[in-house]
């Protein structure tokens, strides 16, 4: 019996160590360090109290990065959900041509983030870019703040499309057919069937997709880095990208750890709120 227990601990030891070394340790380090002045080699120089946070909240760039991130979120989340929902409704019923479209719709999963970001970067070039020439317009994608943000949003939707599409499509297809057929026999039209039956029934999955979309929007960094480098004039610089710049470009770790702690707090608030709502969504079913 004792030997069994030892063996069990041995089996979970590697994952426990990895969790400690690469998640909990750096997490605690960054939260604790955010209250200290941090030297270039990450050692602590002295207790700073709320000083790092005070500096951060007075910092114009911090405010701008945070508001850029929420602006991205406001554009990205609804657009993402609407487009994916539309794609799911279009391919929900299995048909001869359906499997081709299914494959195409999940294909963005196969592309690496930086490949996609590079492709989008060149497609969205002003004047000589293919997007402008196809739409026959001359949108200054890299010089206009809103246009640049919109091009990053398009990239974000493209990157998340495949996974979200599969999640929602399989939720839709796993619905209990007999319930839907009963509603149909009772005379429910197509729209009624969707609004009063399917939508509530898939709401747990829809809610999950919404949650990851919000989280992805809050944490977006690398696609921005490759596509716009935060430009023009920091108008697409998101909060995690700002963290990256402070840590690895400016070696200003005091600021970096304070930023990461702020984002941890925001992420935790979002998670807690969504768990509360999630429980309600599940109960209603």
């Amino acid at each position: 019996m004792k030997r069994q227990t030892l063996r069990a601990y041995a089996f979970i030891l590697p994952v426990m160590l990895l969790a400690i070394v690469f998640v909990y340790m750096p997490f605690i380090q960054s939260v604790v360090s955010s209250f200290f002045t941090v030297r270039m080699d990450s050692s602590l120089a002295g207790f700073a109290g709320m000083e790092n946070y005070r500096k951060l909240f007075e910092n114009e760039i911090f405010h701008q990065s945070l508001s850029n991130t929420f602006f991205f979120m406001v554009l990205f989340v609804p657009l993402n959900i609407i487009l994916i929902m539309a794609a799911v409704l279009l391919t929900e019923r299995k048909s001869r041509s359906g499997s081709i479209f299914e494959t195409v719709f999940m294909l963005p999963m196969a592309v690496g983030m930086s490949s996609a970001a590079l492709i989008f970067k060149y497609m969205f070039r002003p004047s000589v870019g293919i997007i402008n020439s196809i739409l026959n317009v001359d949108i200054p994608w890299t010089d206009n703040a809103f246009a640049a943000m919109f091009s990053v949003v398009m990239l974000g939707v493209f990157l998340d499309f495949g996974l979200d599409y599969i999640l929602l499509l399989s939720a839709m297809r796993n619905l209990d057919r007999s319930v839907l057929e009963a509603a149909q026999i009772d005379g429910a039209g197509k729209f009624r069937l969707f609004a009063s039956m399917k939508l509530p029934l898939i709401s747990p999955t829809l809610f999950f997709v919404l949650f990851i979309s919000i989280k992805d929007a809050l944490l977006i960094c690398a696609p921005v880095m490759v596509m716009t480098e935060g430009g023009p004039f920091r108008s697409t610089q998101t909060i995690v990208y700002y963290y990256y710049i402070e840590a690895f470009k400016n070696s200003n770790y005091s600021a970096a750890f304070a930023i990461s702690t702020v984002v941890f707090v925001i992420a935790t608030v979002i998670t807690v709120i969504s768990f509360r709502i999630d429980r309600r969504v599940h109960y209603e079913n």
Binding site: R7, Y9, S95, V104, I212, F248
Partner: protein, 272 residues
């Protein structure tokens, strides 16, 4: 039930599909452009000459081959280590009773709620102190914890009737014998999806490999393509050739494994 779709729905499907396919198509076409063809107004879609000079340029690039090799090696290492760790941990979490089991399980699962991109600085210092900068171990280190896979695999193991394990034990099978002879073959479908998912995640990761590699010959491909050095001369052709080269095997793999990926995702959607 297979039915023909409504013409309007069909049209919308085609529009959606074209928009999604367009970046793929454009990358493939642009890989045949010459330097000057990128500066034409209005931008063109079809190349003048269908020759492979951009692909030849990539093939003769000093570092491109090592980018590819590094990505494949780190992808295989990360995927296989993750799978082994996931099997061991899920086995212990589903078949053993031991003090602190639920606590340990929660400890592992809670890591999913800490955004890894915000741990970059702390993890960078750890890797630096361990002297693992510019090593494969450093590149894969932060990817090795398979938390979401443990959730799914534990659930899967629990669904296997316990009488199978009991009778295997009666026949004298130890833990490893049971894992290799019974668990792995039974969960082959889910494990192959895990391997693909882990490999793709490692192969496509960007920020972490960018941080822990300084030597050009240690870079992975997703970083390499942003640093090929042709962009300065405004010749994007070779970059698109590189993108196309790495895209093709993934597109094929996803098309072949489409059904498996879909069923794995519908069973448990914890791909966070």
């Amino acid at each position: 039930m297979r039915t023909e779709r409504h013409p309007a729905g069909m049209l919308l499907c085609v529009i959606f599909a074209s928009v999604i396919l367009f970046p793929f198509l454009y990358a493939a076409l642009a890989s045949f452009f010459s330097a000057s063809e990128f500066a034409v107004i209005p931008a063109k879609l079809l190349p003048e000459n269908w020759d492979f000079r951009n692909y030849l340029k990539i093939a003769s690039n000093r570092y491109f081959p090592s980018y590819i090799v590094n990505s494949i090696i780190t992808g295989i290492l990360s995927a296989s280590i993750r799978m082994i760790l996931a099997i061991l941990a899920s086995y212990a979490f589903s078949y053993f009773r031991f003090p602190g089991r639920n606590l340990c399980f929660a400890f592992v699962i809670l890591t999913l709620f800490i955004p890894s991109d915000l741990l970059l600085a702390g993890n960078y210092f750890t890797i630096q102190k361990l002297g693992l900068i510019d090593t494969y171990a450093g590149i894969i280190a932060t990817s090795l914890l398979p938390a979401s896979q443990i959730i799914m695999l534990r659930q899967y193991f629990l669904s296997i009737p316990s009488c199978i394990r009991d009778s295997a034990r009666m026949d004298g099978a130890g833990d490893f014998c049971y894992i290799i002879r019974i668990l792995v073959p039974v969960s082959r479908a889910i494990l192959s999806t895990f391997l693909l998912q882990s490999f793709v995640a490692m192969f496509n990761s960007y920020l972490w490999p960018l941080l822990v590699t300084n030597r050009p010959d240690m870079r992975t491909i997703q970083i390499g393509i942003t640093m090929l050095g042709y962009a300065e001369s405004l010749n994007y052709g070779p970059v698109f050739a590189a993108i196309t080269v790495i895209l093709i095997p993934f597109v094929i793999a996803f098309i072949l494994m489409r059904k498996r990926i879909m069923s794995a995702l519908s069973r448990g959607y914890m791909f966070m």
